[in-house]
Amino acid sequence: MLMPKPDQGVIDRRAEIIAAMRAIVPGEGVIADDAMLRAFECDGLMAYRQLPLIVVLPETTAQVSEILAYCHDNGVKIVPRGAGTGLSGGALPLADAITLGLSKFNQVLDIDYANRCAVVQPGVTNLGVTKAVEGDGFYYAPDPSSQIACSIGGNIAENSGGVHCLKYGLTTNNVLGVEMVLMDGTVLRLGGKHLDPGGYDLLGVLTGSEGLLGVITEVTVRILKKPETARAVLLGFNSSEEGGDCVAAIINAGIIPGGIEMMDKPAIHATEEFVHAGYPMDVEALLIVELDGPKVEVDYLIERVSEIAKGEGAIYSRISESEEERAAFWSGRKNAFPAVGRISPDYLCMDGTIPRKKLGLVLQRMTEMSDKYGLRVANVFHAGDGNLHPLIMFDANQPGELDRAEEFGADILKLCVEVGGVLSGEHGIGVEKRDLMGEMFTEDDLKQQQRVKCAFDPDHHLNPGKVYPTLHRCAELGRMHISRGQVPFPDIPRF
């Protein structure tokens, strides 16, 4: 992975930069000691590591503004970091950049039940938002599997999903407002407790921008009352195609389940051996369908889902009869990653989205690739929205296996694009998928996205080297060759 060449001039000024940062953030908020910097050398994508120039952990918006203004004026790059759980390397440090950690922004500021929202600092964990309101029966809907550790600010940066997003939406559908700081130190408020602020939807483009547009210092999220009850049903099939057809049949019957997950045989076996969730071992595909709402609705719909599944050829069906049993159904799925980690020294977790009807084809081709690369693969799938997580198993201690695994992963993502899907459903591009962007986008597509970047950060100081394979200077991106009066009047109908 080729990162932008570090600016030796900045590295040479390290002592001066440390002094400037200590003047802004007193005490232990500036970390310059190598041993301590080691803790920040990677995020959830552990294959790539780099010590940051220094780490700064501010505590107030004013400090963030001062830090960014200093870096803007002095040509120092910034890598924003939430909890460092991202899976695509969005928070991978740069040798010539300050890693700006938001972990000290950990306060819940305001809970407003009447307006159904909570105002929190960006370092509060995803689960921390729910914890703050669950005593009163509320929760925050998006639930990425790292929710115990990941921060809400990081969720916005990545537009995180989870298993419930078909029904309840992604982060972008559940964030009402932010306070953010631009690279030049300007503090802005976007949105708030009201809906749909007029003007360009800058909050919308900020969400999922992977730390390239600004630093978030406060967040207003929508909170919801917990559903009265939830039940899940396990459904087993002879093939993944049948499982996929069953998902389509459920949706075509007008049912949008709270969660609808699929696992293939290798994933079923790995998880069952790990957590003993009680999964059937003789099926090729397993669906977990969860219905939530009033008891009467859940009971009614779970029967209908079971009927539909029978019609679609389900060879196994078990409905949860207690909260414990429902939790057991989920325990396997939720532990799928560590379960695969247990049967393989290393694994790569991929993340593409496909049109659901292409599932059979994609899995078939993946099996062929598995043979070609000589590496095993297990699949977990957010089946409702077509988001596929193939887990490629390898051993990094075997020479060449990491490279082969990465090639295999790239082939899977190319396949996702080929069948009409996308490179990333919820993990982001970061550095991991950066060099595959050209598979999905033309040069003009990418340039237009980067022009938006230029409107926020014209000198590429914020998180450079992430998301976009080629860094174009903003002046070059903005240049327009206009031949006044030389383009012929278009030959199109006119009136």
């Binding site: 602020p197 007029g198 007008g254 709402g293 938006v452 409107a455």
Partner: protein
Amino acid sequence: MTEILKPDTADQVLDAVKWAVSEATPLDVRGTGTKAGFGRPVQAGRVLDLSNLAGITEYDPGELVLTAGPATPMAEIEQALAEANQELAFEPMDLGALYGNGAGAGTLGGVIAANLSGPRRIKAGAARDHFLGFQAVSGRGEVFKSGGKVMKNVTGFDLSKLMAGSFGTLAVMTQVSVKVLPRPEKTRTVLLMGADDTHAVAALCDALGSSHEVAGAAHLPASVAQRSAVGYVSGAGTAVTAVRVEGPGPSVEHRCKSLRDLFAPFGAVEELHSHNSAAFWREIRDAAPFTGDWQDHQVWRVSVPPTAGPIVGQHLRARLGGEVYYDWGGGLIWFALDARSDAGAADIRRVIRDCGGHATLVRATADVRQAVAVFQPQPGPLADLSKRVKEAFDPEGILNPGRMTAGV
């Protein structure tokens, strides 16, 4: 008379924009022009009429995604979805009647460009939340795309969000993809009679804070309720507060009963069933109380935190007269007032200054919309950033100049 360019293909759109850039001739970009009264009047030498870029190109109900030309009439979209028992869950309003035109004439691209949504906004989100991807020609005269045709996608910046609500000022969309969802099996509406604005919004907040997945929460003061075409509402002779529940039959009955119990302490309770319920929410969605005899009034949409709604509504009427009704649990105030040259803009924006929110002038004559900030003015740094975003797409100011902000 302004010349109209009417491309048949995306390639011709590209030719037209390239030519307009080379001639420094701004374009008034439109689908069928039904929302020309929304936003500031555009000063443009040519009209770019997209009405031939119509038609559904991909729709597989099981995938919950629909792709179409930007000028596909909403009537066509709704019919195709209805045949598969699906819908656009964000319930886009139809501005036809508000502007004195017929219903069903708007386009899918127009709905997205104006980020329209209806009463279900509070549960399902706005157009921006269902807009998955697009192809377009930028004001630079370049073809580009963003997003995709799948429901979950974080590949690159989400330019779809910027396009939604940009009123054609950033790029000319040539193809759009939206998320669609199953229609609810059953719908019912619980009515609370005779509550004043404050109690009504308190009741709505309780309902929205329950686990009943309320899909509509509105309040009509007595003078507005009496103009409803739904007999139960106009005949009530008092204020009417309404919540909508949707879903499978047994569930809707259960939720309805719970909400009736929740409303009981606030006053008398009634129910609307299928036909009346649908008619009622269409009225709320399309600002029907301010159409017909009210055509000469100016109309504002004011978005505030729901609990601030009643106070804002009270202050608006005290300062400027007119009438209000509430949607989005009190968070959306439709306000109609006697026409005046400044449309009451300064007063209205003063009223909402402290609670946070924004006011949009949705109906006024062109001269008023030319003179008054139609959209909420932004603080300096935010306005500057918005201007830079505009320049990132349309540096020469070719597309719908001035539609949202004077000089941008």
